[in-house]
Symmetry: D3
Subunit: 131 residues, 6 copies
Amino acid sequence: MATQTLLSDADLSSEARAVFDDIRKTRGSDFINNFWRALAHDPALLKATWERLKQVMGPGEIDPLTKEMIYIAVSVANACSYCTHSHTAAARAKGMTDAQYSELVAIIGMAHQTNGLVTTLQVPTDAEFQV
Amino acid sequence: MATQTLLSDADLSSEARAVFDDIRKTRGSDFINNFWRALAHDPALLKATWERLKQVMGPGEIDPLTKEMIYIAVSVANACSYCTHSHTAAARAKGMTDAQYSELVAIIGMAHQTNGLVTTLQVPTDAEFQV
Amino acid sequence: MATQTLLSDADLSSEARAVFDDIRKTRGSDFINNFWRALAHDPALLKATWERLKQVMGPGEIDPLTKEMIYIAVSVANACSYCTHSHTAAARAKGMTDAQYSELVAIIGMAHQTNGLVTTLQVPTDAEFQV
Amino acid sequence: MATQTLLSDADLSSEARAVFDDIRKTRGSDFINNFWRALAHDPALLKATWERLKQVMGPGEIDPLTKEMIYIAVSVANACSYCTHSHTAAARAKGMTDAQYSELVAIIGMAHQTNGLVTTLQVPTDAEFQV
Amino acid sequence: MATQTLLSDADLSSEARAVFDDIRKTRGSDFINNFWRALAHDPALLKATWERLKQVMGPGEIDPLTKEMIYIAVSVANACSYCTHSHTAAARAKGMTDAQYSELVAIIGMAHQTNGLVTTLQVPTDAEFQV
Amino acid sequence: MATQTLLSDADLSSEARAVFDDIRKTRGSDFINNFWRALAHDPALLKATWERLKQVMGPGEIDPLTKEMIYIAVSVANACSYCTHSHTAAARAKGMTDAQYSELVAIIGMAHQTNGLVTTLQVPTDAEFQV
């Protein structure tokens, strides 16, 4: 199911094509996943999203694999199945080991649990946590 | 506000006191934050939660700071204010730099955005992401 | 998959049939979507939901298309795939153009992003926003 | 409470000051709300967020008041209290009447209800809603 | 903070007053909590919400205390602090013991954890669970 | 789709096999649902989750069927389709009648609605609800 069609390469506007070219070049792969093909209906949104994602997920103070694990954590909590699939695949492609994945799964589960406990109990924030 | 009172050290059952002792010893600090004081009404839940948290967040394949950043990511997406405060404080205590925090903030924001875009467009998962 | 079966017209109680009749008359279409067929097991819930929906989404101070776009926004944030599909179809049926849809997608994405940023930073509400 | 301090005008880097200048000019108001003051620690994130928000919420195919109502809907479903406050204030500033607000409240409530019903019943998406 | 003012008894329209009268009569208490005072700006929404709540939470196949515990569970997962407070108070007023509350807290925490684990692992639904 | 493969009985480590044995013995059924087969990649997580679930959902102050209904409520609000399916099946297996299920569906829908209304209106918590 989908609420927006996916554009094939033949359907792209020139602005969208330029973004696809940059995705392929940046990733060193010809594969363009469905997210970009759905966004391609709106070249301005496609370009803004890709440019920002490239910057945020690119080299920086946090290593690329950690960035993907953080992305998975958000995607799970937002119940985004597609995003969980795509970023888990990305994390594996960036070297996530089975042992790291097991720990990631356990951390996400634990965080959900204590989030639920805290919200049930409506625990007031300690003054010590204030900046 | 709160839906459960916070127990002071003087109010603890012996089982709860033993857990508080282990929290203090493990963390090398006398400070016990409100989450544990609210949980202490149910020593079995207190003990199970602390034992599991200690194991999941302890030494392993993912470094301690990364674990805290993943925890923050889940807590934000679950809109748990207390948890966001406590794990941001924990991440800073474990050495998170201002530059790393800036990247973490940006990644969480970006993930929320693409989660929202994907769910709006109901993008079908690529076969390539299937294990 | 489903946790409740869908009732065909032949399976309906007389109370449920009366609601289906009103849905068909109100919408000017013979089509009854699956949501109502699952609710039809409980004619009281079916009737209460339909009556209220008809009133809330009917003529008023906010135009019908805007109402559908608001409905999509909620449904996406609640990760309700069915609801996102049904209300996107409804918005298109009520005249949503491709250009409006592109803007809607971008707004929902942007709102998710700033929601995520605000919650990560735990920004205190400005006194100016208080009624 | 907050997990990040708020920067006063005197604390701003020159890059952050330039963004604040543009916010003031665009809005025709000297008031800078706390969201931007928390983001200002990271001028690149501040600038990217403001530039994108200005574009997405600016003139287009959907009128400015409708955009704010969609923003409120997302913010409520994400349980972002700050965002709900700020965008409700913005909607009122853009002319939202009491009668429109009442309808908005009712629509958001209704959407949450049917989202909950659909997810409980796990209703399969009708083929008719597929693009 | 609030995005809508609370109406005192002196501010009520006659339609809203009639609803408040019924709330007081039904509950056998003069106390009207803030939720109804915020809704009272829109007597139609106030009346529809109260009438439906009275029916759904009234006598039926599920006992009143269980209904409140289910309500708490939803409210926690939706991160609604007000609702968690109000329905926890209601559950206690309906006889929830400390031991029952401890179990409720543990169940909600456990459910959040396994929800998080399942979503991280994207576990496919067993055919056995299909109706 | 899935982000983790499902282990057949032949693939299990001895630690995982011992957990499966206990699940089968406790439930009096040979059937092992996919959740456990996905978790089985990490025997420590499998064991910790099963042991805790068995304790939390076992005999206590809240009856087993009520526990399942609370679990469904959380799972729906977290948009966990798998969990909603599995715990609805469990509730039916524990004797949930059609009439009880109808009430459960209505309560969950109602709770979502008032959660949405409260969060839109940002209703301040009454002092009376404070413990």
